[in-house]
């Protein structure tokens, strides 16, 4: 056993201290900064006004994602198409101007490598184990899947990182979320993280850095781990780490921005030393039993409002605490649901497959495998597939997945955040339901009055082809030669 056993979080934290302060806070070095158009313009403007340079443009990467339309961005002749919303256009123009002005690499909306920041970072090898990585977006937690201490920050902190490449932080408490046993093959990483959020509660991780451990986590692919870490913030935790292992190294090997040659060898040696030491103590440990996780769905307006698809809408009176009872009543009113109503069979008018949680190639494969040979139901008015990046999109097209979706009646779109937060034209109309692979079912999140049910990609696909939330384990089989 090591003399002073430390957790993964503590090792990365210790390796990034520029200066410890008497009050317990620390000046912490930031290795990587991802920038998008929504939370950066005020920070760039403040730097400009103060005459401050951006300290390390080489550690910064800018990509537009939140506002970009997911319809065609160039016409048949390759000319840029105008963006209809003048405010979105202005915000996107600001990033296109600010990034080069401050020397930051900018991946434009028409670049084949453009995508959602949290998809682009790992896929470019910009995200590396043992680094500190920030972005003005709460789903930055996603990068923890590769063993990066990654967390979302506000615009003032964005400015602070731009100017100093550091942040003043207090160390977080550590929480181990250990997932023991094996997940059933028809249960996805999304079902697992929804289950975890249900157990922890939406504020259960507040003040903590989570580390996911256990057999079920080790068995996940890197893309599945990205889904799990991504939603840590929905349990209140700014960061959700997973120890880097051989899968992590294999995933990162030869990525465009990954270390090469001798550096790669040195890096892997250091990354291997990061795993939590035997005997290290977490401030809290929560044990999850993988065999209890089922295909799941949210019923309310908080990501903790999760039931298995076989379940029913809970009775608000069944919650022990009066604040939760009141919240549940408000949720049911907003969602147009009654206590006791079955989740299976609830009609949806919209299906969204995308977002930084579930828009990678494995997500699209999972959805396509359900869609293949079937057709989007007549009552579904909008069924979107929005790949997480241009590279994911091209990979999917090379595999013919786009044809499976299009043949079934889905729209095959350009990459971006899209209907996850409805900043671009992709919205769920008021009063309508959406089976969505995104991460938040908040009031108005997918558009004013929109009713969101969070699900996995396969469950979203099953909802699309049946026209209602449904247990994908009970879909009628497709008969060869009789595809719908």
């Amino acid at each position: 056993m090591t003399k002073n056993p430390r957790t993964l979080y503590e090792k990365i934290w210790d390796a990034h201290i520029v200066e410890r302060r008497e009050d317990g806070s620390a000046l912490v070095y930031i290795d990587r900064h991802l920038v998008h158009e929504v939370t950066s313009p005020q920070a760039f403007e403040a730097l400009r006004q103060a005459g401050r340079p951006l300290r390390r443009p080489d550690r910064t990467l800018a990509v537009p994602d939140h506002n970009v339309p997911t319809t065609a961005r160039v016409d048949g002749e390759g000319h840029l198409l105008p963006i209809a919303d003048p405010q979105s256009a202005k915000q996107l123009e600001a990033l296109a101007k600010n990034a080069p002005e401050f020397g930051v690499r900018y991946i434009s909306a028409t670049d084949p490598e453009q995508g959602i920041v949290h998809v682009v970072g790992p896929e470019q090898g910009f995200t590396l184990p043992g680094t500190t990585l920030v972005c003005g977006d709460s789903h930055t937690a996603a990068h923890g899947a590769l063993g990066a201490l990654a967390f979302g920050i506000g615009t003032s902190e964005v400015e602070h990182v731009m100017a100093t490449q550091t942040l003043i932080l207090n160390p977080a408490k550590t929480m181990e979320v250990r997932v023991e046993g094996k997940l059933s093959p028809d249960v996805s990483a999304k079902d697992l993280i929804l289950h975890i959020i249900h157990v922890l509660g939406t504020a259960g991780g507040t003040g903590y850095a989570i580390e996911y451990t256990g057999e079920a986590i080790r068995n996940l692919s890197i893309e599945e781990r990205l889904t799990v870490s991504n939603m840590s913030i929905e349990a209140g935790a700014r960061t959700g780490l997973i120890a880097p292992d051989e899968k992590t190294f294999a995933y990162l090997f030869a990525r465009p921005m990954s270390p090469k040659g001798d550096d790669w060898e040195k890096a892997v040696r250091w990354w291997k030393s990061l795993a939590t030491d035997e005997g290290a103590v977490y401030d809290k440990t929560v044990v999850i039993h993988a065999d209890e996780v089922q295909p799941s769905v949210t019923w309310g307006t908080s990501p903790e409002d999760v039931v298995p698809i076989t379940g029913v809408v809970p009775d608000p009176a069944s919650f022990p605490d009066p604040a939760k009872q009141a919240a549940a009543r408000r949720s049911l009113e907003y969602m147009g649901l009654e206590p006791g109503q079955k989740m299976d069979g609830l009609a949806v008018e919209n299906v969204f497959i995308g977002s930084c949680t579930n828009s990678r190639i494995e997500d699209l494969r999972a959805a396509a495998s359900v869609v293949w040979g079937r057709h989007v139901a007549d009552n579904v008015k909008q069924a979107l597939v929005v790949p997480g990046s241009g590279l994911v999109k091209r990979q999917a097209e090379a595999e013919g997945l786009d044809e499976v979706f299009k043949a079934a009646g889905f729209e095959w779109r350009e990459p971006g955040c899209s209907m996850c937060l409805a900043m671009n034209p992709d919205k769920v109309p008021a009063g309508e339901r959406c089976a969505s692979t995104s991460n938040r079912n908040f009031v108005g999140r997918q558009g004013p009055g929109a009713r969101t049910h969070l699900v996995s990609p396969a469950m979203a696909a099953a909802a699309a082809v049946t026209g209602h939330l449904t247990d994908l384990r009970h879909l009628a089989p497709v008969k060869m030669g009789e595809t719908a």
Binding site: V18, R21, D23, S25, L27, Y29, V38, T39, P41, Q42, A50, R52, R55, N67, D85, K90, Q91, A94, L128, T131, G136, D137, S138, T140, G152, I153, G154, T155, S156, E157, E159, H160, A163, T164, Q165, T166, I168, N170, A203, T206, G207, I233, G236, D263, W264, K266, A267, A323, K324, A326, A327, L421, A422, M423, R440, F442, V443, G444, R445, P448
Partner: protein, 192 residues
């Protein structure tokens, strides 16, 4: 940053738990390159309901907001703090705040005060009829009825708020230490 010492006045008795930042400021208001002009979108879905506290003349111009557990959860958008500031609110009291929101609030001189549920319940009652006083220096919330609730605050944040310090300016004084760290990093972990 503007210094904060005492916040005194009426308080909006909102009291709901899990007020996320999409409720505080919906995404369609985020298409701005400015920090201003956000108050008009603040709490839009709550203000759409009749009898909401924000449009009740009783609380007009209140400098304090009292909320339920887990205020500011969800998105990291600092627009939430900017919008609340622009409404004229200088302090929020709740049993718990999301980590990102409380950080954002602090950077904008918006005081977040954490008190136990029972104290928050009491203040929600008082707020319906009477003003509340927050004293940052002494870390205490008082009412005209002899209520006196002590609150904890991070000492660094307290100092910055009381003195209105510019955090970036402070950190830039440590430029040499940052450069030294970068030199060590370049030799120890050259791949970063």
């Amino acid at each position: 940053m503007k210094a904060v010492k005492i916040v005194e006045g009426r308080a909006y008795p909102l009291g709901e738990s899990n007020i996320d930042t999409d409720i505080i400021i919906p995404a369609h208001y985020l298409k701005t390159t400015d920090r201003k002009g956000l108050a008009k979108g603040a709490f839009e879905s709550i203000r759409a309901k009749e009898g909401n506290v924000f449009d009740d003349p009783e609380y007009k111009g209140a400098p304090i907001l009292i909320a339920g557990d887990n205020f500011g959860c969800g998105s990291s958008r600092e627009h939430a703090a900017w919008a609340i500031n622009e409404m004229g609110i200088e302090a929020v009291i709740a049993p718990r705040f999301s980590d990102i929101f409380s950080g954002n609030a602090f950077k904008n001189g918006l005081l977040t005060v954490v008190l136990p549920e029972a104290d928050v319940e009491r203040l929600l009652e008082v707020a319906k009829t009477d003003p509340i006083t927050l004293d940052l220096e002494n870390q205490v919330v008082t009412t005209p009825f002899q209520d006196r609730f002590h609150f904890e605050i991070d000492p660094f944040r307290k100092r910055c708020l009381l003195e209105g310090l510019d955090e970036i300016g402070l950190t830039l004084k440590d430029q040499d230490k940052i450069s030294q760290y970068e030199d060590v990093l370049a030799s120890d972990r050259p791949w970063v």
